[in-house]
Amino acid sequence: MKDKKAEFLTEVELEFMTLLWQLEQGSVRDVLAKMSPTRNLAYTSAATILRILEQKGFVTSTKQGKTFIYKPLLEKDAYQSRSLKKLSENLFDNTPSILVARLVDDSDMTEDALEEIRALIEKRLKNDTS
């Protein structure tokens, strides 16, 4: 079957990938077990979503006995960066500072969170100068 590479995940796929990132690897049953009991997703539907994720190149599978074990090919950090880059391009005129400014302006941001951001920026600046 011809693989169709995609850059971004749909909402359901992101839900599955988040669970796989937590599990590091797992079968369809493992992923379903990690879901909320109210989710009520059929086994076949979950298997199909994982198979599509494999076709898109987000996960890889190995067969263990009769079960397929799925493992993320893309790290969570890498996908976060990719998504932020797209968000910056589409919504913030490709200017990350506006994105950060909007984030910092958010009234829900706690003092601790702001301090954490300041520390991260200072660390990055120190690394760049050294």
Binding site: E11, V12, E13, E15, L41, S45, I52, Q55
Partner: protein
């Protein structure tokens, strides 16, 4: 030129038949609505499709009538021709009109044929060019829509296969739809729907029903015919009627046979419509496919929002009145009979009958009189 002339004649006849048959259909629908069959959508859809097939096969009625005349199955001098009938009425004095004007009205089809097939003036050329450009334009639109549909299906992911029916999942569409190629049939479901099992069940049941009703084939056929009869408004009204009836019939059949609640069904339609409005399709060309729900507002064709409203109202109202109506064969036979008679009646009359010779003489006398007056 004889061949072109025959084709043009057939083209004009089918256009007239479309108008006559659609008027007949409106009368039949009015009667059905008032005889307890208002919600018998499947029966109505079958009748409408049957009328359309009768129009397409109308040349066979003419052939049969001509053969019956040749082999003596009809009384000598028997004619069903409308122009012969009107001419006889004119000569009997049933209505008054200048003979020259009456002859011009009778020869309108000939005048049109000569002006379009052998255009001499700029107006004739313009009309002929517009007709050809319109046909080509609409056909091109069909081809582009076909390629777009192929791309959407190509970008989707195989899910299951049942013989020639391929179930596929797509990230690029938010509305489930059915389509087909020459050999394969497709049902494309938005991949996000996999996580909503009730909606998935409803969408699949709905699309399977469309294949049972052969709606996809009708949709492709009508889209192609639209490019040939693009200037005739009746083809748009016809398509709109078929689109409405096929969705209403499909909803009704799914609810009757699949044990799905009306509320769950309506909720699913509204959810899909909401998803579609949140992610509007990038391509504006109508694809030759049959979707679960249409949410686009259109000036020409079915207004998706109004149709959705109509479907939900119909589902709620028709619950108590759902009955399985078998297609009324006698009604079908009457409709086909009327179309056959209309087909024969509108044929071009090229023979010189006594009445036509009489009319020609009157016209010549009127002209002579006019000349004498001028002298």
């Amino acid at each position: 030129m004889i061949q072109a002339s025959s084709i043009f004649n057939a083209y004009i006849n089918i256009n007239i038949l479309l108008v006559v048959s659609f008027s007949l259909w409106l009368i039949v629908r009015f009667i059905l609505n008032r005889s307890g069959m208002k919600y018998a959508y499947s029966t109505q859809l079958r009748l409408l499709n049957c009328v359309f097939l009768a129009i397409l096969f109308s040349p066979l009625f003419v052939l049969g009538f001509n053969l019956a005349g040749q082999y003596g199955a009809l009384p000598a001098g028997f004619s069903l021709n409308l122009s012969d009938f009107v001419l006889a009425q004119y000569l009997n004095g049933s209505f008054e009109m200048q003979a020259v004007e009456f002859e011009q009205a009778l020869r309108l089809r000939d005048t049109l044929r000569v002006n379009l097939l052998q255009p001499t003036g700029w107006l004739g050329f313009m009309v002929a060019a517009l007709m050809i450009a319109g046909c080509l334009g609409f056909f091109l639109r069909c081809v582009i829509a076909g390629f777009q549909l192929r791309n959407i299906i190509g970008r989707s992911y195989p899910w299951r296969r049942l013989g020639t029916l391929h179930l596929r999942l797509s990230d690029t569409t938010s509305v489930p739809f059915s389509a087909r190629s020459l050999r394969k049939r497709y049902i494309v479901i938005p991949s996000a729907m996999l996580s909503r099992s009730e909606d998935l069940k409803i969408a699949l049941a709905h699309e399977f029903q469309h294949f049972r009703q052969r709606d996809v084939e009708w949709e492709i056929g009508l889209e192609l015919l639209k490019s040939v009869f693009f200037w005739n408004p009746v083809i748009y009204f016809w398509k709109r009627q078929i689109e409405q009836l096929r969705e209403l019939a499909c909803d009704q059949q799914v609810l009757q046979h699949k044990h799905i609640g009306v509320r769950a069904y309506c909720d699913c339609l509204l959810r899909v419509c909401r998803d579609s409005l949140a992610n509007p399709p990038r391509d504006r060309i109508a694809l030759p496919s049959v979707a679960l729900v249409q949410c686009q507002r259109k000036i020409i064709g079915v207004d998706g929002v109004r149709l959705l409203q109509q479907r939900i109202e119909s589902l709620c109202r028709s619950q108590g009145e759902m009955q399985s109506h078998r297609p009324k064969r006698w009604l079908m036979a009457v409709l086909i009979g009327l179309i056959a008679v209309s087909t024969i009646a509108i044929q071009d009359q090229s023979d010189w009958s006594q009445d036509r010779l009489m009319l020609s003489s009157i016209v010549n006398l009127e002209r002579l009189e006019a000349l004498n007056k001028g002298l």
